[in-house]
């Protein structure tokens, strides 16, 4: 059921979305742009994957959504983090940090 993503490391898209939304509510393109900007273009987000992921995270209860006017007075669907979304972000961040550290250690000893 999960959408595959070729540009973002498998499984990290959810975490990136949650992290981005932890700052402020955003619409789909806003999230994509923010991820690309902050990663300095390392991660490219494709709309099919992103919007499917948003639907999934919303179903999971981690996001809320509402239609709002944008800065240039168009209507867009804005997503915001819920309380359980915040908890999920913490859990995923911890998990990721642990893994990343472990991978880094392995790479170091190999070298």
């Amino acid at each position: 059921m999960d959408a595959t993503n070729t540009d973002v490391i498998q499984g990290t898209l959810d975490m990136l979305i949650l992290k981005t939304l932890s700052l402020e509510p955003m619409h789909g393109f806003g999230i994509a742009r923010r991820v690309e900007q902050i990663s300095r273009g390392v991660f490219k987000v494709n709309p099919g994957s992103l919007l499917t992921a948003l639907a999934r995270l919303e179903r999971a209860g981690w996001l809320d959504s509402e239609w709002r006017d944008t800065a240039n007075s168009r209507r867009a669907k804005y997503y915001s983090l819920t309380r359980s979304g915040r908890r999920q972000l913490e859990a995923e961040t911890d998990d990721w940090t642990r893994r990343a550290a472990a991978v880094a250690r392995i790479l170091k000893t190999e070298g």
Partner: protein, 887 residues
């Protein structure tokens, strides 16, 4: 609570499809807009920005489609669409849909019906708590004998592996109940030891259970008769009145206190028709001449928890072979042959298990044949649909998508078939139950219930995959190139090979079923050719039960029956009449030890037993049991006359070999000595398949132990026996109006009913066999006519080049018959192996019986040839001019 959110959102978006779609469409469009706007800010024109976004992200619709696919509701929705599409496809091909659905309905219906029958009997545990620990224990002599009360007492006292042991009397308790609510009714019941229901683990729903004090010696004064009754009897005769407990009711004019009512759900597997129970009330002093030493108890026990079956068997062996002084044994209950102990369930189903398993296998075979047939139909249809599938693929359907859609169609087909099948099972199960042998345990629990429904659903799922997967994979194997012409002229050889293989398998399976049916049919033919030992034609038989205080005088009973026989003999159309206490082929079993005064030592070792026939003069004549030697019993053999008996010829030959049996003396159980005056022919007593059983005949007046209260009246008539029933009823009523008349039937009916189990097996095998034969013929026809249609041009070319009609006919016939022959050869090999499972049900027919095999092969080959003939003739009549110009 994520599940609920998933479910509720899914349902909401299903219910409001368009709103959900618009939401997604808007969001995606908005995304593209924003992306374009952000590119514009880097200096591109709006037009360029939009193109760049398109290049990067693809088409808006594609993204929308992808986002929309998320969520279970969308998978369900696609599936729904597939099913709807499938339904339209089936609707467009009603002939295919009808044949396939009906074939599946037959297979699923047959399997579900048989499963419903087999499930409560063989698969479900007995309806008692912890029923796996219930065992039945037989005396090992003569293979399996009932135990005596003496043996029961000894085992009960000495056994440590059984938590408790109970005894059930074989002679039935058959009281006549007369209440204000209805006429006299004879009830079925059982005499049991006081702990019987506790051993089963059942407690009365009302009142109390038997206690040890209820089971005291019959002769002891002041101990009232007590009884427990079934829920059904309580409702039927006592209006479900709770105040019945403790009340005295007259049973056969004896006051009996009803102490309790059993639960509604209670099933008495040891005698399903029993509705009343009373205590055995044997004499604990065990007098050797009393009924305490008669082999007429069934002993059941509940193993202590943790004790294994083998431990109990070992202990029983030890008890049997180590008598102790405390428990003296009668010489005919010496336990020399040990005990036979088996789980109660195995014992109850022992007789019927082979038949049920055979029928279950037959149903499975039929189902397999049906599935093979439908697979072939779907494969054939795949050829017609190649164009459609190619188009779908060309406009972008993936292969997975096609397989999914084809599977959804099959699932629809099988589900409809299954639905009809279950409906059929619902109706047919009653017919099958009516065919079942009457002595079957737990027949009352047979129903198309939740188990059967689950079974049918499982079948539908399994068949959908089995039947669907091959054609779906095969059908979706379309390439754009080969299908581009949209009309195929060369048959796909892979598919062709598969279809031929399936047809061969179908013929082979049908042959196995038919051989089974044939062997059973031949067995029954042989059985009914067996001489019964009497002449069943034009004989009516019925049982008269005497009920009432006055019949406590044996002479009153004798007089009553003498007057009945006299009255019946007066009737026009009656040529002979007589009575007996037990009648052949009725299930009656009144067996006694028969001791000969001077038995040769070779024969003296075993304990001879025989059916005790207490008869009126004229019984043997009415049955036309032939007299071999000496004289028949007659009206002079009364109480004060010398005691005389007749025995059957094989009994005489075995017990008194090489000597003239006339004049020898014998005793029946504890009776005085009888002198043998006549030798009569052997009679098949229990069933046609069981060898003649030994029998002793004495007159009622000379049987002084007791007077048999229920006797069979046997009437030989000059015309149709059944037609005389009302006249005979009136004659009996003219003697005494209050005596229940039971079990009226002609002897011919009894002969065929005695083989109920074989009839049952045969009827189902025949029905399944005929269906299998038809399916094989339809399959052959379908394959061949399809093949002729595909090869129209080839055949036309052959004809144009000079092939004669005959040679075209032969060509097509050969093609079809070669498959049939292959199927027959494989089927023969399979039948030789499979018939081993039928062996126990055959009677004087080898499982390799040549007549059966040849007959079945001829039948199958003829049917096949006929099925091939129709398409072959069509091929032969093709006009090459028309066919070749059509292209």
């Amino acid at each position: 609570m994520s599940f609920w959110r998933h479910a509720s959102r899914g349902v909401r978006s299903l219910l409001n499809r368009s709103a959900a779609d618009r939401d997604i469409a808007d969001e995606v469009e908005n995304y593209f807009d924003e992306a374009a706007r952000s590119l514009q800010s880097t200096g591109l024109s709006p037009e360029e920005a939009r193109r760049a976004v398109r290049l990067q992200f693809g088409h808006v619709a594609g993204v929308q489609e992808r986002v929309r696919a998320y969520g279970w509701e969308n998978i369900a929705d696609t599936f729904g669409a597939d099913v709807r599409y499938g339904a339209r496809q089936l609707y467009r091909r009603p002939a295919f849909a009808l044949i396939a659905t009906l074939t599946l309905a037959l297979g699923i219906g047959a399997s579900t019906t048989i499963f419903s029958v087999v499930n409560p009997i063989l698969l479900q545990r007995l309806p008692y708590p912890d029923s796996g620990r219930l065992m039945i224990i037989w005396d090992g002599q003569n293979n399996r004998s009932d135990v005596t009360f003496g043996t029961y007492r000894e085992v009960e006292a000495r056994s440590r592996t059984f938590a408790s042991l109970a005894a059930v009397g074989r002679p039935p308790l058959q009281p006549t109940l007369t209440t204000d609510a209805g006429g006299p009714e004879r009830l079925e019941g059982q005499y049991v030891s006081a702990n019987y229901f506790r051993v089963l683990g059942v407690a009365p729903a009302l009142g109390r259970d038997f206690e040890a004090a209820d089971d005291r010696r019959l002769a002891e004064p002041g101990v009232p008769f007590v009884a427990l009754i079934s829920d059904a009897l309580w409702r039927r005769r006592f209006g479900a009145d709770p105040a019945i407990v403790g009340r005295q009711v007259l049973f056969s004019e004896t006051p009996v206190t009803i102490i309790g009512v059993l639960p509604r759900a209670f099933e008495n597997v040891l005698n399903p028709s029993a509705e009343i129970w009373s205590t055995l009330r044997y004499d604990p002093a065990l007098p050797l001449t009393g009924r305490e030493w008669g082999h007429h108890l069934r002993m059941i026990g509940r193993l202590r928890s943790g004790v294994r079956e083998e431990d109990a068997k070992r202990e029983l062996d030890a008890i049997a072979h180590a008598p102790v002084a405390e428990f003296p044994r009668a010489s005919w209950a010496s336990l020399r042959s040990g005990f036979i102990a088996t789980p109660l369930q195995d014992d109850l189903t022992r007789g019927v298990r082979p038949a049920l398993l055979a029928v279950l296998c037959a149903a499975a075979l039929l189902l397999t044949i049906a599935c093979v047939n439908v697979t072939n139909l779907i494969l054939a249809r795949g050829i017609d649909r190649r164009a459609e599938l190619t188009v779908r693929m060309a406009i972008g359907a993936s292969r997975t998508r096609l397989v999914r859609q084809l599977l959804a169609e099959t699932l629809l087909l099988v589900s409809v078939g299954g639905l009809i099948g279950v409906a059929v099972a619902y109706v047919v199960v009653d017919v099958v139950v009516a065919l079942l042998p009457p002595e079957l345990p737990r027949a009352g629990a047979i129903a198309v219930d939740g188990w059967a429904m689950t079974f049918a659903c499982g079948l539908v799922t399994m068949i959908s995959v089995l039947v669907g997967i091959v054609p779906a994979l095969e059908g979706s194997r379309v390439s754009l190139r080969s299908g581009a012409g949209l009309r195929s002229t060369t048959p796909s050889s892979r598919r062709d090979v598969m279809r031929r293989t399936l047809l061969v398998a179908q013929v082979a399976l049908a042959l196995v079923l038919l051989v089974g049916a044939g062997l059973l049919l031949r067995s029954l033919q042989h059985l009914f050719a067996v001489p019964t030992g009497f002449e069943p034609a034009n004989v009516l038989s019925l049982q008269v039960q005497t009920a009432g205080r006055r019949f406590r005088d044996p002479n009153a009973t004798h007089q009553f029956f003498t007057r009945v026989v006299d009255a019946v003999r007066q009737l026009p159309g009656v040529s002979a009449a007589g009575t007996t206490n037990q009648l052949p082929l009725t299930g009656d079993e009144d067996i006694w030890g028969v001791q000969f005064e001077s038995a040769p030592e070779a024969a003296a070792k075993e304990n001879p037993e025989g059916y005790r026939h207490a008869v009126s003069p004229g019984y043997v004549e009415a049955m036309r049991i032939p007299l071999r030697q000496g004289r028949l019993l007659n009206a002079l053999d009364v109480a004060n006359a010398p005691l005389v008996a007749m025995i059957n010829e094989s009994f005489a030959r075995r017990r008194l070999p090489g000597v003239d049996p006339i004049g020898h003396r014998l005793r029946i159980g504890p009776s005085p000595w009888f002198t043998v005056v006549g030798i009569v022919g052997d009679v098949r007593q229990t069933s046609l398949a069981v060898r003649p059983t030994d029998a002793v005949y004495v007159t009622n007046e000379q049987w002084t132990q007791f007077a048999d209260g229920a006797r069979w009246l046997v009437v030989r008539t000059t015309g149709d026996a059944a037609a005389l029933t009302p006249a005979i009823r009136r004659a009996i009523a003219s003697v005494d109006n209050g005596q229940p008349i039971l079990r009226i039937s002609t002897m011919e009916e009894r002969v065929s009913a005695s083989e109920a189990q074989r009839w049952f097996t045969l009827a189902l095998f025949e029905a399944f066999g005929v269906v299998a034969l038809i399916l094989a013929a339809v399959g052959t026809y379908g394959l061949l006519s399809g093949s002729v249609s595909e090869r129209v041009r080839e055949i036309a070319v052959r004809t144009a080049l000079g092939a004669t009609r005959i040679s075209v006919l032969a060509f097509v016939l050969r093609q079809g018959m070669s498959l049939t022959v292959a199927g027959i050869v494989i089927g023969l090999a399979a039948a030789v192996i499979a018939s081993r499972f039928l062996e126990t049900m055959l009677f004087s027919v080898s499982r390799l019986d040549a007549v059966t095999y040849v007959g079945v092969v001829v039948l199958l080959a003829t049917t096949s040839a006929f099925a091939c003939w129709i398409p072959a003739r069509r091929a032969a009549r093709l006009d090459p001019n028309v066919v070749l110009k059509a292209d």
